[in-house]
């Protein structure tokens, strides 16, 4: 039975076409995936269904929910539909919950709004709801505040909030993008169970084909506000009737770049380093509890190698990266670079520092928004002993900007004029302009659309050969690790639990944690990939 029917839905915001005659049908109890790149109109489709549209928007067409046309419905009527019949789960559990209210109060809010019940009765329903999403109310009491919960728990609270009124349709907008793989697997499992148990329909908006493959019965692929392809998930990706579907599928499989020649010479040697953060003494909190962030970590990176580093959020990956950069003082241990000691008693010399640079995850906070690109890229010149003159500088700038496949006149622009992928290229340019030996890529591809990822992967490979670079590739994405790294480190709670050749470890992980990590990663069925390979 059809629950939601969208016919000829078009949306204009300030005279700009966002959605172009979208048609789709969602049945009861069905998980419907909506797939597309960022900016293609996925989220606006969700906003149109709930009619939570920005100002000056013009919506035409029909949206039927149980034979009620939502496009024509008045705002007051919509208020009773939202939450009761349609509810939403957002991407960022950090900002979707009010930090000043207990989770119990936030979950019960819609109950009290839509039903005429007492607070005590509402709290009972809330406790049931928490139980259903796998939060034991005895451990996670409804009196807790969002900051007392982890990201995964917060997302569970969001789901409890969305399900509390037993809606007919849940719209989940990138519900697991901000979570790490293991939590993602748990949340996806939970969503699937809920849909089956309560016969709820789920509109799952995501850019991750792996998630769609795992969950969605049906899928619609969107590009520039148009639906390109719709149908059963499996048929869509095996018939590959549309060029764009094929492109999305092939983009989603990270291109395996050939491992470059690795010399036997060790570039970076990390010898049993440890680090414990000392918390600031606080008279109010009393005693300090210091948990070590890095415990006895040793590994090495050879010249020309790309070493992967995998671990959940909070396992100490970033602290390790900062330590190698020489920005963190260590408690014990030693880091050698190219034979020179990165000393941690004194600050490392500029000479050694100039051999290591970093590229960050978030392409939007990596640059000072008030500086032009040429100033951003030339910042590392500061590390050089010999100051370059103007001509040499501009020559190097031009060289580097073409090496990362951007144009010369981009040097005069500001960061906000670039897209995410272009910004990561700029970040790479900044990192390699003084010809370092080692570049730390801290989740550098995680924030990018799949279509851009492969380009950057290839670029990384090219640059590595051209400038003789080694990479420390930090990521939580097993597929990416597989595509680019030669060896991989698996890290958990500040310790290294596994180290070895990437292919070997991913094929037969010896540690149970590695196994669970690999199993948790949503992957695209092999049969789809085969079809793709067979045709092209």
């Amino acid at each position: 039975m059809t629950l939601l029917t969208i016919e000829n839905l078009s949306l204009e915001i300030q005279k700009k076409e966002i959605l172009k005659s979208v048609n789709l049908k969602i049945k009861r109890g069905e998980i419907f995936g909506l797939l597309g790149e960022s900016g293609c109109g996925k989220s606006m489709t969700a906003a149109a269904i709930t009619k939570l549209l920005p100002m000056h928007s013009n919506l035409t067409g029909k949206i039927f929910l149980d034979n009620e046309n939502l496009v024509k419905t008045s705002e007051t009527n919509m208020g009773s539909i939202r939450g009761k019949k349609i509810s939403m789960i957002f991407q960022e559990p950090m900002t979707a919950l009010n930090p000043l209210q207990t989770i119990g109060k936030q979950i019960s809010e819609s109950l009290l709004l839509h039903h005429n019940i007492t607070k005590r009765d509402a709290m009972e329903i809330v406790i049931n709801g928490l139980n259903e999403v796998g939060l034991d109310p005895l451990i996670i009491s409804p009196n807790r505040y969002p900051y007392q919960l982890s990201g995964g728990q917060r997302q569970r609270v969001m789901i409890a909030m969305a399900c509390i009124l037993k809606p007919k349709l849940i719209i989940a907008d990138e519900p697991t993008t901000a979570l790490d793989v293991k939590t993602q697997a748990e949340i996806l499992c939970l969503l699937k169970d809920l849909v089956e148990k309560e016969n709820i329909s789920l509109l799952l908006i995501t850019h991750d084909l792996g998630v769609i493959a795992k969950l969605a019965h049906k899928v619609a692929i969107m590009k520039n506000g148009k639906l390109i392809d719709t149908g059963e998930t499996k048929t869509v990706f095996t018939r590959l009737s549309h060029g764009y579907t094929r492109k999305i599928l092939s983009d989603s499989i990270p291109k395996i770049v050939a491992p470059p020649k690795i010399s036997q010479n060790v570039l970076l040697n990390v010898i049993s380093i440890s680090k414990t953060y000392k918390r600031k003494f606080s008279a109010l909190e009393g005693k300090n509890f210091n948990t070590p962030t890095l415990r006895n970590i040793s590994f090495s990176i050879r010249k020309g190698e790309c070493l992967g580093l995998v671990g959940e959020s909070g396992c100490g990956k970033s602290t390790l990266a900062r330590s190698i950069l020489g920005l963190e003082s260590l408690d014990s241990g030693e880091i050698n670079l190219d034979g020179a000691i990165l000393s941690f008693v004194d600050k490392p010399t500029r000479d050694i520092r100039s051999k290591i640079q970093i590229v960050f995850q978030d392409p939007f906070s990596s640059f000072n928004p008030r500086h032009q690109i040429h100033r951003i890229i030339s910042e590392p010149f500061n590390l050089l002993k010999k100051k370059h003159n103007k001509e040499l500088k501009s020559k190097l700038l031009k060289e580097i900007i073409s090496a990362v496949e951007l144009e010369e006149n981009d040097l005069k622009k500001y960061p906000h004029q670039f897209s995410g992928g272009q910004r990561q290229r700029i970040a790479l340019a900044r990192a390699i302009i003084i010809r370092p030996k080692l570049i730390i890529l801290d989740e550098a591809l995680s924030a990018l659309d799949v279509s851009l990822r492969n380009n950057i992967l290839v670029l990384l490979q090219k640059l590595s050969l051209k400038f003789n670079l080694s990479y420390l590739f930090i990521s939580h994405d097993i597929h990416l690790i597989k595509a680019i790294t030669n060896r991989v480190l698996i890290m958990r709670d500040g310790t290294l639990i596994e180290i070895g050749k990437t292919r070997k470890i991913l094929k037969n992980p010896s540690h149970p944690y590695t196994k669970s990590l690999i199993n948790a990663t949503p992957s695209i069925p092999k049969s789809w990939i085969k079809r793709l390979g067979g045709k092209s």
Partner: protein, 284 residues
């Protein structure tokens, strides 16, 4: 997206920026003119012309009980007020902003605590009472008024700088700059300050208008500007006993204070609208 950082089309400027600029600019110009020219010399007493009502041919705003020209005194008062208020604000900025930046960059250790608790200590006392105490100890003069008011601007700027700088320090480009070997001073001046400048500029206008009020208050109790220099607060104090038969003596400086403070506040609002990137997006 617009290429340039600033709105070039002047019609898009917020109207309160215009209004504030025009009125505050006028007061500033009057203060400047008073340095080289005033209609009458206010150090000369002319008892025969005393308490002339406004609208007089010679004395446009009338005269006070010593026969001094009110217009001339207002002009010199404008100069005094703006001079004291801006010097005191400047004092607050040059000491407060570096302190705030230092606190923000060392937010993990004791330096932050020492600076911020020191701030709290100054904040704990009512500003005007301590200013009275300081001028009472150091003796009343323009310089001491500036110091007394300026001391209270330091924690204001330190706190607002720290608050605005803390989120900037967590951004990746700060880490990138550190990876490039930049020291704290370079990071603050190149990366942090430009990104919090708009907040500081708006706070500057607020502090200037508060400074004008504080200066008037100090002069009113006789601890600010000393005669024969004129000041709006002093004029108010002098007019107190004669308010029943010569109300213009109190009205003139009172209105001057209101107009000046209001115009600077409007200017601050306008600047905030202009510099706030969120609002700017809507405009373009």
């Amino acid at each position: 997206m617009n290429n340039s950082k600033f709105i070039t089309n002047f019609t898009q400027l917020p109207p309160n920026l215009y209004i504030g600029l025009i009125i505050a600019g006028f007061v500033f110009a009057v203060g400047l003119i008073s340095i080289i020219w005033t209609p009458h010399d206010i150090t000369v007493l002319n008892i025969q012309e005393k308490l002339k009502p406004p609208g007089n041919k010679l004395y446009f705003f009338g005269t006070d009980h010593f026969g001094r020209d009110i217009l001339s005194m207002l002009m010199i008062g404008a100069k005094t007020s703006l001079l004291v208020a801006s010097c005191a604000t400047f004092l607050g900025i040059i000491l407060g902003v570096p302190l705030g930046l230092l606190a923000a960059s060392r937010s993990e250790d004791l330096v932050d605590d020492i600076i911020m608790r020191g701030n709290d200590l100054i904040f704990a006392f009512p500003a005007i009472i301590i200013a009275i105490l300081i001028t009472a100890i150091l003796g009343p003069s323009i310089e001491n008024t500036i110091i007394a008011i300026g001391i209270f601007n330091i924690p204001v700027f330190a706190r607002i700088t720290r608050g605005a700088a803390l989120p900037i320090f967590t951004l990746d480009f700060i880490m990138a700059a550190r990876a490039c070997g930049k020291n704290s001073f370079q990071i603050c001046s190149e990366h942090v300050l430009p990104n919090i400048a708009s907040i500081l500029i708006v706070q500057t206008t607020i502090q200037i208008s508060l400074g004008i009020l504080a200066e008037s208050g100090l002069s009113y109790v006789g601890l600010g500007t000393q005669p024969p220099m004129a000041s709006w607060g002093r004029m108010l104090a002098d007019s107190q006993t004669m308010i029943s038969f010569a109300p213009h003596l109190a009205l003139a400086p009172g209105i001057a204070i209101i107009v000046t403070v209001l115009s600077i506040n409007i200017l601050g609002d306008g600047l905030r609208d202009y510099l706030d990137p969120k609002l700017k997006k809507n405009l373009s």
